[in-house]
Amino acid sequence: MVQYDTIIIGAGMSGLAAGIRLAHYDQKVCVLERHTTIGGLNSFYRMNGRDYDVGLHAVTNFTPAGAKKGPLARLLRQLRFRWEDFELSEQCGSAIAFPSARLRFTNDIEVLKSEIAREFPNQRDNFERLLGQLADYDDLKQENFAGSARAFLAETITEPLLIEMLLCPLMWYGNAREDDMDYGQFCIMFRSIFLEGFARPFKGVRLILRALVRRFRSLGGELKLRSGVSRIKVDGDRAVGVVLDNGTELWAKRILSSAGIVETQRMCEDITEEVPARAGQLSFIESISVLDCQPNKLGFGETIVFYNDSDQFHWRKPIDSLCDLRTGVVCSPNNYLYPAEVGNLNDGIMRLTTIANFDRWMALDEQEYARQKCWWYDRSVASAVRFVPDFRAHTIDTDVFTPKTIRRFTWHDNGAVYGAPEKKLDGTTHLKNLFLCGTDQGFVGIIGSIVSGISMANMHCLRDP
């Protein structure tokens, strides 16, 4: 009988980071992954001779080498990595584009300040006051997490359009709730995007994942791919082990799951009635257009553009159609300040994300699914080129992922990208030794997911060996 100290469900960023912490402190740890590869939502693949990231636009929470505060510095210390190990290059500059205003921002908050002073002169002091209010939020304590971000912003910012514009990138990169955002989630996202910023490794997400896996294995951790958990075995108020899809049983003193709150509860054999559908509603399609030249040759020099085609930002699942084309995110992985010696990516790449309806995408038969992918690729790109230079004539290859793809990679209900709207911040469950990590802690993005894995491992799995 194999008995582990801790079994971790899911080999994404959070599960691997938790695994490193536990293995470093001599636990016998096993990470179980249903998919054939690591990464979960943030995975990577190769197609037609080209390397792709599944979802990466940017590593948020960027802080420079030597910074001692912030999530990136914290995770590097906790996992014993050097800053150089993640090979992060900073963004060239991004923008929030609405029809009547455009705000540029970089990893230096002064740029956003001056842009706000330019577009909204009477909001300059209000924005300064907002920054003062946000400086003290501690994302580890997460006090006052609940509460409306819109109401909070309206206390300080008196120009409704500016509120919409500030919320647009923050919701796009990490809001599981429709329409409004929890105050705590807002604070986390504001810091990660506006106060810290965007960066990317030249080689993409595989560089970070490989660093995590290599470290985990070197510490004696076990990683089992193609090993989905079909059931969590329960004895009284404790989890005792798992049953894999192939029937294998594994035993553990405790289990840490990155599968999501609802998805994890469903695995527990003591919960017999169907768990109410509390999964997130927000899922996306994302297209990748490969160009025959660098995007800046076509006049696109920005790293990321968040666009919205009216003064009101709509953040909700489309009901009547497969996608909502009113808002989107365009990102070019070419537009980072890579070191001169590595040059730039061979191909020009434009990534475009659009909100989608999971149920409608899942209901399509195979032929219709393929047809709709092409149709919505065309329409979403046509929508985006209202805000960025038209790159369509230079496209030499494309790929599209849909909510169905996300489901296949992550097994998350609804293909939800940012987890359930009701966050379980402390990671506890109805069982004394079953805990959650990953997107359901409110931390999102690569750095957030890694910090989530670390903090849940520290809080629940390290103290009693």
Binding site: H24, Y25, K68, R77, Q78, R82, I454, S455, N458, L462
Partner: protein, 83 residues
């Protein structure tokens, strides 16, 4: 271990946890937090490294004893004397 050896070991642990910190000017009577950037996660690591390296168990209610180098060495001396 003698108090001086315990001090060296704590310095080694700190340089492992926070490799970017210059620890040469550390004042033993002042709190770690006032001199180097350590958060609650880092303090947990001091405890965990002591357990990993020397099997020294530090109960959670005693974490406050690790505030400065002086208080840490005083607290650990009886626990590490025979190592």
């Amino acid at each position: 271990m003698t108090p001086a050896e315990i001090r060296d070991e704590i310095i080694d642990i700190l340089s492992d946890i926070a490799p970017d910190e210059d620890l040469s000017g550390l004042e033993d009577s002042k709190s770690f937090r006032d001199q180097i950037e350590l958060d609650s996660m880092d303090f947990l690591d001091i405890v965990m490294e002591l357990r990993k390296r020397h099997r020294v168990q530090i109960p959670e209610e005693d974490y406050g004893q690790l505030a400065s180098m002086d208080s840490t060495v005083t607290y650990l001396e009886p626990k590490m004397r025979d190592i």
